[in-house]
Symmetry: C2
Subunit: 179 residues, 2 copies
DNA sequence: ACCGTAGCGGAGTCCCCACTTCGGTTAAAG
DNA sequence: CTTTAACCGAAGTGGGGACTCCGCTACGGT
């Protein structure tokens, strides 16, 4: 694979994340190509279909978040680690969930694998915070995921002031904390 | 206006809410017409454009919720009223927010008016619960709205088990409650 | 029961977007 | 420097969906 081709591939993925993350399904491949500074054909040469492009951007995102989740699962202060992980997942994952919803019913194996791995790491981080006694034990990773997804999706759809978002995250953390 | 025309208009609105609420922007007017049991032309006679149809369904939804919010704003137990209001807004408003996101940047006056009125009523309900001392005073209606929107939007996009959703709502309520 | 007309449905039209084709361009090996 | 093959961009192509036209239906007042 040639040098410029690899650079283009990366630029296309970044552009796809931005376009589809904000515009949703309305975004067109032409818009992605323009933002990436390449022609439409180049996009389709790297990714045979629009769905494949979204899928690749999605996997890239999951892998990026996985590092953070692993770090949170091995931190010395489980509660603080969980708090920062939630923050990061909401901020960085805003556009990701829009992408995921675009894939709809069919779930490509690569995406499922990356998603499962990430969820497992988040689950570990949550359990460690619960074992430390700082998070109430009657909630699971499903509730946490639901709330994270909700905030991420909403902030992706419409811009939200940072202060309000932070405050909302703080409310969620207060809801998870032991009394 | 003739009787059958009015019935058709109502059926079309209900169908639009279902189709666009679940499928999102992917839903087509043809699908709405089929579900409503009418022809495509009938849909466009009642609502000159797809956007107008979404707008009408949206206003209908806001007005329906407004009643509930007003009830919550005058209840004797402000905290319990707020809790049920949150539940109702999430359950009933799931598809509504999908519709709202479809309108995008431009905000038709009728929708803005209905939305503002609803938000004001929710704000009143929140303030009453804060005045009663059952909700912490350092959060506003913006945070509440953000969390409600998040959960509603997520449950609209992908089906969520009722138990998980209830538990997540309970976490939010715990986050809002005074310690 | 009759008739005028509002209302209806299906067959088009137009446009947008995912995807393809082909001639020019450039990175890298000899 | 030359060659060559991988890569690129612009101009198509096909399908789907928003929206319109016109002959027909049936509601409802008399």
């Amino acid at each position: 694979m040639r040098q410029d081709a690899r650079e283009n591939r990366e630029r296309i993925l970044a552009a796809a994340e931005q376009v589809f993350g904000t515009r949703g399904e309305t975004g067109s491949t032409e818009e992605v190509a323009r933002l990436a500074g390449v022609g439409i054909a180049t996009v389709f040469r790297h990714f045979p279909t629009k769905e494949a492009l979204i899928e690749a951007a999605l996997v890239r995102h999951f892998v990026g978040l996985l590092d953070r989740a692993r770090a949170a699962a091995t931190a010395t202060d489980p509660y603080a680690a969980l708090a920062t992980l939630i923050h990061e997942m909401i901020e960085r994952g805003a556009s990701k969930l829009t992408l995921a919803s675009m894939l709809g019913d069919d779930a490509p194996p690569a995406v499922v694998a990356a998603s499962t791995e990430l969820k497992s790491a988040v689950n570990t981080a949550l359990h460690r915070a619960q074992a430390a006694g700082s998070v109430r034990p009657d909630v699971g990773v499903e509730e946490l995921y639901l709330l994270i997804r909700g905030l991420a999706q909403t902030t992706a759809a419409t811009p939200v002031p940072a202060a309000v978002l932070d405050s909302a995250v703080e409310v969620i953390l207060a809801g998870f904390a032991t009394r």
